[in-house]
């Protein structure tokens, strides 16, 4: 039964990384979303936090998304005096999304996802070989 719980734990990790990838996609997709009227805030970058919790059914520490928060860092300012959303000084506020950070985050999510996947593969092949005992 332990190998089954190993598979369940890894699956919870994959689900968490999937949610993380969704948040990253939202950030990247909205990297140019400005406010719709003058003075409105542009898109604010979202952040994701994981936590480990004890799952009593599986009797192991699984992972889940603790919260999806907002990045309160300053918006970027671009000097575009003729932009319809520009303020009196000619600056347009742009989302605080840094595509380099998002790409790096994405690679990390992918790496952890793959690690979880190969962990599942290992557990599965161990189970498979045990079942093969019956065939001998």
């Amino acid at each position: 039964m332990d190998l089954n719980s190993a598979i369940k734990i890894s699956a919870s990790g994959m689900r968490a990384q999937g949610t993380r990838l969704r948040v990253i996609s939202e950030n990247v997709a909205n990297a140019d979303s400005l406010g719709s009227v003058k003075g409105q805030d542009p898109y604010r970058r979202k952040t994701i936090v994981f936590e480990n919790f004890m799952n009593r059914d599986v009797n192991a520490e699984m992972v889940r998304v603790a919260k999806i928060g907002r990045d309160d860092s300053d918006f970027e300012l671009a000097y575009e005096p003729f932009h319809p959303l520009a303020d009196e000084d000619g600056y347009v506020r742009r989302p605080n999304v840094n595509s380099l950070i998002e790409m790096m985050d994405m690679r990390e999510a992918q790496r952890t996802y793959e690690a979880n996947l190969s962990s599942i593969e290992m557990a599965r092949s161990m189970l498979q070989r045990t079942v093969d005992l019956l065939r001998a």
Partner: protein
């Protein structure tokens, strides 16, 4: 002599139990590779002598509908406390899981599992030879 009494079979059985428990701990580490302040865990090495004397444990009974199920120590296998402190690389959020290290441990677990399984298989084969069945 019952087949179950064969020491080699029992040792292989214990080893496989320990390895699948370890696989589940490693899965837990990999799943929590991005959880803040999570530290990688590992099991203490298998002690055959103690494990062969091990008795079956019973779960805590649930006598009321609103009782939560007790966490049953599945085995005598303990989490190695030492391994949680000796971390040489921790990310800024306090996570101490090194994925590469975990993947190597997973691979190692799989190899040892295969070894125990093959030994088990061989022993059963020898029983078969002694029984003189023709299907092998």
């Amino acid at each position: 002599m019952a087949i179950d009494n064969s020491n080699l079979l029992r040792m292989a059985h214990q080893k496989m139990n320990w390895l699948s428990e370890r696989q589940s701990v490693l899965s837990q580490n990999i799943a929590n590779a991005d959880s803040p302040s999570y530290r990688a865990q590992d099991l203490t090495p298998l002690d055959f002598k103690r494990n062969l004397q091990q008795v079956t444990k019973l779960p805590v009974a649930k006598t009321e509908g609103n009782h939560i199920s007790g966490v049953l120590p599945k085995s005598d296998y303990r989490i190695d406390e030492r391994s949680q402190k000796d971390v040489y690389e921790a990310s800024p959020n306090g996570n101490g899981v090194v994925l590469e290290e975990q993947m190597i441990a997973v691979q190692d677990t799989k190899l040892q599992y295969d070894l125990a399984l093959n030994l088990y298989n061989k022993q059963i084969g020898m029983f078969r030879t002694a029984l003189g069945s023709n299907n092998r």
